[in-house]
């Protein structure tokens, strides 16, 4: 009985020390990480819609038809000079082969993809992790990356299915399908929203 109490106290003490150390490191790093996330988002938005645009965050994100594709944030893209909406960008989460993949998907009002940027990816190293590798080309001849191939595809007219109209990454069919599905489903939802809003 005495030893059980001793073990419980020792284990509790070690857990408290490690927990305290983690809490301190978390508190110090949290604002820095949050600022970096905000910067990455801002950079992602301007990469997807390069030029003189403003991004207006919608109060409530739109809903995708497929429940496996979650849209967590939406931004209406307006031309600064004319004030006219030109498209939309959404933060989208899809289930990957290892963990959820978080990305930004941008579409223009006509349904063409303006860009796709991955924010969080934990896929298999050397295979699915190549999704956002700027040196991994699915089309070596024309130096087109996996995400690059989506630009100018139309989310309404094109099927966006790997091995049909999308080039899959070698050995990473699940990741290729997940990203393609995210672009297609979120893209369709954004185009429907823009149409409904008369934009």
């Amino acid at each position: 009985m005495k030893s059980i109490v001793k073990f419980a106290i020792t284990l509790g003490l070690i857990a408290a020390i490690t927990g305290f150390a983690l809490a301190i490191v978390y508190k110090i790093t949290k604002p820095i990480i949050a600022a970096q996330d905000a910067k990455a988002l801002e950079q992602g938005l301007s990469e997807i819609f390069p030029g003189d645009y403003e991004f207006l965050k919608l109060d409530k994100p739109i809903t995708a038809q497929d429940p496996s594709v979650q849209i967590t944030e939406c931004y209406l893209v307006k031309d600064k000079a004319s004030g006219k909406p030109v498209g939309m960008v959404s933060r989208v989460t899809v289930p990957g082969s290892q963990a959820p993949i978080e990305m930004l998907v941008g579409v223009k009002s006509d349904g063409s993809v303006s860009g796709v940027k991955i924010l969080k990816l934990n896929e298999t190293a050397g295979l699915g992790a190549n999704a956002d590798n700027p040196k991994y080309y699915v089309d070596k001849k024309n130096k087109i990356t996996f995400l690059g191939q989506f630009i100018d595809k139309n989310v309404i007219k094109d099927k966006l299915i790997p091995k049909q109209d999308v080039i899959a990454m070698t050995g990473a069919t699940i990741t290729s399908s997940a990203v393609s599905k995210g672009v297609k489903v979120a893209g369709e939802a954004m185009v429907a929203y823009l149409k409904e809003a008369g934009q």
């Binding site: 001793k6 073990f7 490191v25 110090i28 050995g171």
Partner: protein, 200 residues
Amino acid sequence: MNKLKIIWNAIIPNNPVLIISIGLCSVIAVSNSVQSALLMTFAFAMVQIPSNIIVSAMRKIIPHEIRVPIFVSVIAAFTTIAALLSQAYFNSVYQIIKLYILLVVVNCIIIGRAEAFAYQNGVFDSFLDGIGNTIGYGIVLVAIAIIRELIGKGTLAGIQIMPESYQPMLLMILPPAGFIMIGILVGALETYLKRKEGKK
């Protein structure tokens, strides 16, 4: 024990991957590219060395019966701290190594060394053992990665080495090739050690 011998033992005669045969999952998972192998080694060092030091420093107050949950707490804490610090202060590097840092928590070499060495030896010796094991693990990882990446992708650290006409052998970047390569290296090292023993 001779200080240099501690490091040498962890690299060749007691290599964690090839002789003790632990930590194989991570070797197979990340040895399909040289860059991944180097980053995994870096992440491994960030947890292995401080974990060894802390376990060694606390060895006299850790009861034998509950040593394993304590080792796990220490290792998991260091893995999380390493992940948070690299995300905050070396974000560009973290974006590449995040996958490897998280994999370290389940690397049995770290808990194996805490149990077999750090729990029995002094702080400085445990520090040296951490360095030796990092080198031993890293050498195997990089050696396998060089062969797998070269044959499986035609590149080395992302740089095209093989001619454009070369058809990469996909099997090499898939897990079975990792097992095959480990088998070949185990055979080579065992042969070397037996020959060395024979000469004595």
